[in-house]
């Protein structure tokens, strides 16, 4: 961003509970998430004049939400896009506000990701309908190779072969993120697990076991972006947007799996742009978030974004390095693996709460930023949470990133 670094802020965050099922429409959930994020910012719905969302043909639209809530918008556009779109829409918001199209923008995602359209498909039960393979599906459905687990597993398998890493490294990520979920009252899986629990869980698609895969849920999430001038008057300490990259693509000779190295992901060059914009280096980062649709996607993003050297992520995560109070805490809400699945936005939400010093944990004074830092008592607020690097994932060849800082940094 360079000249726009720290000029725009995330001032509001909100979400509905992770449910399986929600028994609600995506419009109903989106209205709640948007209302909560706006209230969290200390704003009224009438203060919001821009709205945007992303979806994959599985959700409601901004005009529906604005109509339902009686909002008059100066800008409303919804995009089709997978994971890593949330960070991209933050970049849109900055550009739109800078250009004067609107002043304060809310970004939402709403999905019945469990009871409606599931990313991972539905394990067949009862009478099996005929599956129709058209478009891309002609060249994967006929091979029984359709789900993200089945697709990303191909890169993960080659990564294991190329680096000598084992699935114990995957387990480290499952264990760390689950530990964080144990400190998060909103998470759907809160029982801590050990490396052995991961290793004993059943196979989904080798090299992925059940505990390598995220928890699909029904949920809506929203964040509010505005300029720093407005941000200072609002309810919480502002969280400044320092830099990022948005849905970068690797060179792809027509097809992801024909790239020379199928586990070479888009963050590999993207991070230089993000860190350059933000004017920081990796050692300035207090904590990270990684799009953990699978344990492996976290592993490869850490490596791609330069937190460790190529081929060394397996070593890097060993011994609980990603846990709170350790070297590089990752996904402090429990992430997709243990909190629930929001298609990426919950990572931004948790990072904002941490940077405000207002993680909604078990500490009696959390809402005022007073924490015990006693993990046994359920505190999940980091002691030092000044700068965060959030890494988004769409596909092996598509990634986003958002570097944020709190008021202390």
């Amino acid at each position: 961003m360079g000249s726009l670094t720290d000029k725009y802020c995330i001032v509001g965050v909100g979400e509905t509970p992770h449910m399986r099922p929600s028994n609600r429409t995506t419009l109903s959930m989106a209205c709640e998430a948007v209302s909560k994020a706006v209230a969290d910012a200390g704003l009224k719905l009438s203060d919001i004049d821009g709205m945007t969302s992303y979806q994959i043909g599985d959700s409601t639209t901004s005009p529906h939400v604005a109509t339902a809530l009686g909002m008059r918008l100066n800008y409303a556009v919804d995009i089709l896009g997978g994971g890593s779109s949330g960070e991209a829409l933050v970049a849109h918001a900055i550009g739109l506000i800078e250009a004067g199209y609107c002043k304060t923008m809310v970004i939402f995602r709403s999905m019945n990701g469990r009871s409606g359209r599931r990313m991972g498909g539905q394990t067949p039960g009862g009478p099996v309908p005929v599956a129709v393979a058209e478009g891309d599906g002609q060249f994967n459905m006929g091979w029984g190779w359709t789900t993200p687990a089945q697709r990303f597993g191909m890169s993960a398998m080659r990564y294991l072969r190329d680096t000598g890493c084992t699935t114990k490294a995957f387990a480290e990520i499952a264990v760390a993120h689950r530990y964080h979920a144990s400190l998060n009252p909103k998470a759907i899986h809160r029982n801590p697990i050990a490396i052995e629990d991961h290793q004993r869980s059943r196979w989904i698609v080798k090299p992925f076991r059940l505990l390598d895969c995220c928890q699909e849920t029904d949920v809506s999430v929203a964040i509010v972006v505005t300029s720093r001038e407005r941000a200072f008057d609002l309810r919480h300490p502002p969280v400044f947007i320092m830099g990022g990259y948005a849905r970068t693509l690797t060179d792809s000779p027509q097809w992801n799996y024909s790239r020379d190295e199928i586990h070479y992901v888009a963050g590999n060059y993207g991070w230089k742009r993000a860190f350059g914009m933000a004017g920081i280096s990796h050692k300035d980062v207090d904590f990270v978030s990684c799009y953990d649709a699978f344990t492996f996607t976290t592993l490869i993003q850490l490596e791609a974004n330069g937190f460790c050297r190529k081929g060394e992520a397996g070593e890097f995560v060993k011994g609980g390095r990603l846990r709170i109070d350790r070297e590089l805490p990752s996904n402090l809400s429990g992430g997709h693996l243990s909190e629930g699945y929001t298609h990426g936005v919950q990572m931004v939400i948790e990072n904002v709460r941490q940077l405000r010093h207002r993680a909604d944990d078990a500490c009696p004074g959390w809402a005022e930023g007073r924490h015990t830092y006693d993990r046994k008592a359920g505190c999940r607020q980091l002691r030092k949470a000044d700068i965060c690097c959030g890494m988004g994932w769409g596909w092996e060849n598509m990634a986003s990133c958002l570097i944020l800082r709190g008021i202390a940094a």
Binding site: V130, Q138, G144
Partner: protein
């Protein structure tokens, strides 16, 4: 060998970009796209332009259907209904022998192996075989290990 795929639960719908590919498969020919202007090859044929030179009139190249396994997964939990009785089965990415280009570019395809997991490894040579489906218009390419190699890697967990 994994149990059969229930093709009655699967309907392949060729489109304007892929109809010739499926027609060739019916005649037991394995095609990849090739650019008549620069020679670049690619797969799958859903992509209607040459990523190297931007040509919008791609042609075809008939491969011998032989290659090396570049990576694989073993599907244990079925998702596509046609594969309920097939699990566990191996899906592999195969690097085609006759599609290596001077610039280092490779063309890889994917498909379901006829071999069970213990027989499959990264680095092994394999070849295409053709399988009839419930739909007379659709013949499905499958792959089988066709020999041995010095440097192979297997997932042993």
């Amino acid at each position: 060998m994994p149990a059969p795929i229930d093709y009655s639960k699967l309907r392949i719908v060729p489109d304007f970009d892929t109809a010739e590919w499926w027609a060739a498969a019916r005649e037991h020919k394995y095609l990849v796209r090739q650019c008549p202007d620069c020679g670049h090859k690619w797969f799958p044929p859903i992509f209607p332009a040459c990523a190297r030179c931007g040509s919008l009139k791609p042609g075809w190249f008939q491969t011998a259907g032989k290659g090396v396994i570049h990576s694989y997964v073993v599907v244990v939990q079925p998702i596509v209904g046609a594969f309920i009785g097939t699990v566990p089965y191996v899906v592999a990415i195969i690097e085609l022998d006759d599609c290596r280009e001077a610039g280092g570019s490779v063309t890889r395809v994917a498909g379901v192996m006829l071999d069970d997991e213990p027989e499959v490894a990264i680095g092994l040579p394999c070849e295409v075989v053709y399988e009839e489906t419930a739909d007379p218009r659709i013949v499905m390419p499958r792959w089988r290990v066709s020999g041995s190699a010095a440097n192979v890697w297997r997932f042993n967990e």
